[in-house]
């Protein structure tokens, strides 16, 4: 839709323009202009340093997300289906979701050192609660009418689980995955800034320490852009896969 695209571009121009102006004023000695930051970003892309950095950062992220997704969905299904399990495990995840899990990072560092393991752990504790709770809630909220319909046509319990509950729960489970990955991202960055600087976190802390602010902002900009692109991509996949369940956006 043309109008929407034009307005998005306009919006971007306004914001980046404001950044540029603020950098020229300058708002602070530590605030580079938009153009300077983009130049630094281009330099890092061209010399490949940013790709090396991301490869490093993505390791705990992908590992952590993979573990969180498998364990999280499995646990969520179990909790959703068994009231005993729900009683046993859901309070833990409910508390975990409300609590600032970042506080646990010092402990993890103490227990597992400053290497990949503790970073993976950080990603996991940030991502799992929302995945588990979303999955459990989706399973428990399967429309009763559909389950009843299944029973009326003599579906076995296994049929109902595989053909009704899981497909019905998929959109919410997927949304939970998306939120989980989002939280995992935060965990990955956090562990790089706090535990040991590696990957992109290293670029940020290092450039800050030598007052190379354009590079620092460039790195942060790239993190945000990547996170947004990836998560939006996931949303599109979600919409495509589940178009049957899409209620449609109600707009003017």
């Amino acid at each position: 839709m043309n109008r929407s695209l034009v307005l998005k571009l306009l919006s971007a121009i306004i914001v980046f323009g404001a950044w540029e102006i603020a950098g020229r004023v300058p708002v602070s000695y530590a605030f580079p202009t938009f153009i300077e930051s983009m130049q630094a970003l281009t330099a890092m892309t061209l010399n490949g340093s940013i790709f090396v950095a991301y490869a490093e950062t993505l390791k705990p992220l992908m590992l952590g997300v993979a573990i969180s997704a498998t364990a999280g969905i499995g646990l969520g299904l179990w909790i959703g289906l068994s009231s005993r399990f729900e009683w046993l495990f859901s309070p833990i995840f409910v508390v975990a979701q409300a609590a600032p899990l970042a506080a646990l990072i010092p402990i993890l560092v103490m227990a597992y050192g400053i290497g990949l393991t503790s970073k993976v752990f950080v990603v996991c504790i940030m991502a799992m609660p929302v995945i588990v709770l979303n999955t459990a809630s989706a399973v428990r909220n399967t429309p009763a009418s559909l389950k009843e319909m299944g029973r009326s046509f003599l579906a076995t319990d296994r049929d109902i689980l595989l053909k009704i509950i899981i497909p019905a729960a998929s959109p919410v489970i997927f949304a939970g995955l998306r939120l989980g990955i989002s939280a995992g991202f935060i965990g990955a960055i956090l562990s790089e800034l706090k535990i040991t600087p590696t990957g992109v976190g290293d670029i940020i802390t290092f450039s800050r320490s030598i007052a190379d602010y354009p590079s620092m902002y460039a790195a942060i900009f790239s993190i945000i852009v990547l996170a947004v692109l990836f998560l939006n991509g996931l949303e599109r996949v979600e919409a495509y896969l589940f178009e049957g369940n899409n209620r449609g956006y109600v707009s003017d």
Partner: protein, 268 residues
């Protein structure tokens, strides 16, 4: 409340010899303290459409679901062709008020879902489903999804699904209440034809008096608190007239008025 209550439109009590496909005997249903159904007995003649009509809270959907095997009766029994039922079975098929379609499956899959659950092979069940999809007038929509269909069309899918499993008893739970008026009238006409052509027993729950009188061979009036059958009406004459003339037949209008005057006290 038993068969001696069956009367024809002129008010005489008539003993009728009925070949019952479904027999409900002394069925009660309690939810804790609440008595949803109390000692209800009713016979459903084979090959005909019986309506369960009554104001909300009279237990008609509860009774239907007990017959379907989706709920257990607290006491009493239900027999289909002389055999007691113990749960859902392939001799009964249910049509839901809110359609209960799988939103992620297209029309073909939804219609063939009942057969899929029975383990019928894919090509065979799709053939059967295709036949009923045309039966209900949805040819061309096989690949459409529920959210792309209107309410009336969605209910046709639900109906086709129930017909495909070829059960001898069809249970319909206020199937047209979520459908607009024009579609509803069309459905009622189609239902009459369906009853005529298919050799099945239909049990139909509704709270619309006119709908019940229009489509039914037998109307069971249920009253609430406690839920019981207060009378059973068998319209005689207009059953054989063409569909266009039913709503103007004197018998139709008389029955509708008669039912309303007994039900109006129960409006909440």
């Amino acid at each position: 409340m038993d068969m001696s209550q069956i009367k024809d439109t002129l008010g005489d009590a008539q003993a009728v010899d009925i070949d019952s496909a479904v027999s409900v005997r002394n069925v009660s249903k309690n939810y804790g303290e609440v008595e949803a159904l109390r000692d209800l007995s009713l016979e459903f003649p084979r090959g005909q459409l019986t309506s369960l009509l009554g104001p909300s809270g009279c237990g008609k959907t509860t009774l239907l679901k007990i017959i379907a095997g989706l709920l257990d009766a607290t006491s009493g029994e239900i027999e289909i062709d002389g055999k007691k039922i113990t749960g859902p079975g392939d001799d009964r098929a249910f049509v839901f008020q809110d359609f209960a379609l799988l939103p992620w499956a297209n029309v073909m899959r939804n219609v063939s879902f009942g057969l899929e659950l029975r383990g019928v092979a894919k090509s065979e069940r799709e053939d059967i489903a295709q036949k009923y999809i045309s039966n209900v007038g949805l040819t061309g929509f096989e690949k459409a999804f529920p959210h792309e269909l209107s309410g009336g069309m969605r209910q046709r899918v639900g109906l086709a699904r129930a017909l495909s499993v070829d059960a001898q008893v069809l249970l319909l739970d206020e199937p047209f209440s979520a459908v607009d008026e024009q579609n509803r009238r069309k459905f009622q006409e189609d239902l009459l034809e369906l009853v005529r052509n298919e050799n099945k027993t239909f049990i139909f729950v509704t709270h619309s008096i006119e709908e019940a009188v229009y489509v039914s061979d037998q109307i069971a009036i249920l009253l609430p608190r406690p839920s019981r059958v207060s009378e059973v009406i068998r319209p005689k004459e207009f059953r054989s007239t063409g569909v266009e003339n039913i709503r103007r037949s004197k018998e139709y209008l008389d029955i509708v008025d008669q039912i309303w005057s007994s039900l109006r006290n129960y409006v909440e």
